[in-house]
Symmetry: C2
Subunit: 288 residues, 2 copies
C-alpha cells in the first residue's frame, strides 16, 4: 500500500511537471532552460542525498526519491531512475524543435517520444508496487526491450488523441503531438491524421497481443506477472483517460469516444508492420 501511494504521488509530480515545464510555460519554449532544470533533477534522481533542492519540483522529487529507497530494491530503483532520466533528457529535444521552428520527421519523433512521453517509466512501476524482482536477464532481453517500446507507443499514441483538445487550448504551437505531425508530413486534414493515428494504434495493439503471447509461452513467474501488469496499465490508462477532467474538460468538452470499440480489429491490415523506419523493427521480433 505505501508503494501504491508512492506511485500515485509520483504520477502527480510527473503530470504536473510535464504540463508546467514540458508542454506549457516559458521553460518548454527554451531548450537551455529545460537543460538546466533537467540536469538538476537527474542528479536528484541518481544521488538524492547530495543534490540541491532549491525549487518546488526539486524539493518534491527529492522527497519522493528518498521515500522510494525504503520501498524498493536498488535494482528496482535503478530501472525507475534510468527510464526517468531518459524521459527528462527527451524534453530537451522537444524544446529545441520548438525553439528552432524545426519540424521533425514522424520517424525521428516517434523514436525520441519513446523516452520523452514518460510511458516507459510506467513499465518500471509494477515491480515497485507489487514487490517482486524481474530478473535482469529478462528485463534486458531484446524482445522485452522491443515489447516495452510497443507498450509505450500504445499509451503514448492514444494519449496524443485524448490530449489533443487540452494541448490546443493550453500548449505552445508546435509539433509535439503526432496528430499535427502526421497532418504536416502527409499533407492531410486533421480528421485524416486522427484516423491515421488510430490505425497506427490498432496495428501496435495487434502486435502487442502477438508479442505478449509469444513471450508468455516460456516466461518465468516474474516475467509473466510483469507482462500482465503491462496489460493492466494499458486498460487502466484508457479508463482514466476517458473519464478524467484533465482530458474530458467539462468547461469546454473534448470530443472523446464514450467507450472502447467492441472489436478493435476490424481493420483487415491490423497485422501489417507500420512503414516507419525507427519502429518497423518491432515486427521482426515475431517468431511466427
Amino acid at each position: 500500500m505505501p508503494a501504491l501511494q508512492w506511485t500515485s504521488d509520483f504520477l502527480m509530480w510527473l503530470f504536473a511537471f510535464d504540463d508546467e515545464f514540458c508542454d506549457e510555460g516559458p521553460v518548454a519554449a527554451s531548450p537551455d532552460a529545460t537543460l538546466l532544470i533537467i540536469t538538476k533533477l537527474q542528479r536528484i534522481v541518481e544521488v538524492p542525498w547530495a543534490a540541491p533542492t532549491d525549487d518546488n519540483y526539486s524539493a518534491a522529487l527529492h522527497e519522493l526519491r528518498l521515500r522510494l529507497d525504503d520501498l524498493t530494491t536498488p535494482v528496482q530503483t535503478a530501472r525507475w531512475s534510468a527510464s526517468f532520466r531518459a524521459y527528462l533528457q527527451g524534453q530537451i529535444w522537444m524544446a529545441a524543435n520548438g525553439a528552432q521552428g524545426r519540424i521533425p520527421t514522424l520517424s525521428d519523433h516517434l523514436a525520441v517520444r519513446l523516452d520523452s512521453s514518460g510511458v516507459k517509466i510506467f513499465s518500471t512501476l509494477s515491480e515497485i508496487i507489487h514487490g517482486y524482482d524481474l530478473p535482469a536477464a529478462d528485463y534486458e532481453r531484446h524482445d522485452i526491450r522491443g515489447f516495452v517500446e510497443v507498450f509505450a507507443s500504445i499509451i503514448g499514441w492514444s494519449n496524443d488523441l485524448v490530449s489533443y483538445h487540452k494541448e490546443r487550448e493550453r500548449s505552445q504551437e508546435g509539433y509535439g503531438n503526432i496528430v499535427d505531425l502526421i497532418a504536416y508530413e502527409r499533407g492531410c486534414t486533421l480528421e485524416e491524421a486522427v484516423s491515421e493515428t488510430a490505425m497506427m494504434h490498432t496495428r501496435a495493439m495487434a502486435l502487442y497481443l502477438r508479442l505478449r503471447d509469444q513471450i508468455l509461452r516460456d516466461a518465468g513467474p516474474e516475467l509473466r506477472r510483469w507482462i500482465t501488469d503491462c496489460d493492466s496499465w494499458i486498460r487502466a490508462d484508457y479508463d482514466w483517460s476517458l473519464t478524467t477532467n484533465r482530458y474530458v474538460n467539462p468547461e469546454n468538452p473534448a470530443d472523446l469516444p464514450a467507450g472502447s470499440a467492441a472489436s478493435p480489429f476490424q481493420e483487415r491490415e491490423a497485422d501489417l508492420p507500420l512503414p516507419i523506419a525507427s519502429i518497423a523493427w518491432w515486427w521482426t521480433l515475431l517468431k511466427d
Copy 2:
C-alpha cells in the same frame, strides 16, 4: 580476444568523437548541433537495427554496436549502453555552457562530468572483455554506484591534468577542464589550481582504496573481479596517459610528470572529505 579488439576499436571511436564533436570543432560550440548528433547516436546504441547511419561516426558506431551483440549478454550491453547514453547526454550541458558563456560551479561541473567524461563507460567494459556477469543486485548497490563515481573522478581529474596542454592548444576557450574552473572559482593562479586538482585527486584515491577494501571484505567472486579490474583501469590509464603522444605531444612537449610519486599520500589530510556539495556524500559510504 575479440572482446579486447572490440574494446580497443570502441575506445578509438570514443576518443575521436570526443575530440571532433565535444572538445573541438563547430559542433562543440553549438548545443543544438550537439543535441542532434547525440539523439541520432543514442538510438543507434539502443536499437542499432533501426537507426539511420548517414555519417562516418554513426556508421562506425552502428558497426561497433552490432559486433557487441555477438560478444556480450544483453545485460552487459544494457550497462554499456546506459553509461554511453549518459556520456552523450552530458555533452549538451558542456556545449550549452560554452555557447551561453556560462561558467558552472565546480560542484555542478563535477556532477555532470561524472557522466560526460565517459569514464563510467570504462567500468562496464571489464565484464565484456573477460566474459563474466556482475549480478544486478551488486551492480546497483548504492556503495557500488558511489564507488564508480570515485573511480570515474580519479581518472577524469588526472586526465584534466595531463590533457591540459593539448586542450589549451586545440580546444575552444571555456571551462571544460577543472583546472580552469578552480582557478576561476577560487581566484587563484593556474599553478595553485593544478595543486588543488592534485590534492583532490589524492583525496579521491585515498577514499577509493578504503572503499575498495570495504567492498572486497564480503564480495562474491564476480564483484571481486570487477573491483580489481577497476584498479587495473586506473593504473593502465596513468601508464597510457604519461606515454601517449596524444598528451606528451613531442612537437610541443607538455610538462608531464616522468612517473608516479613513490608515496602518493604524504598529504596529512588525505582522508578528509572534499568540501564539494555534489560529491561530499562519497565519504558517507565509509563504514569505519
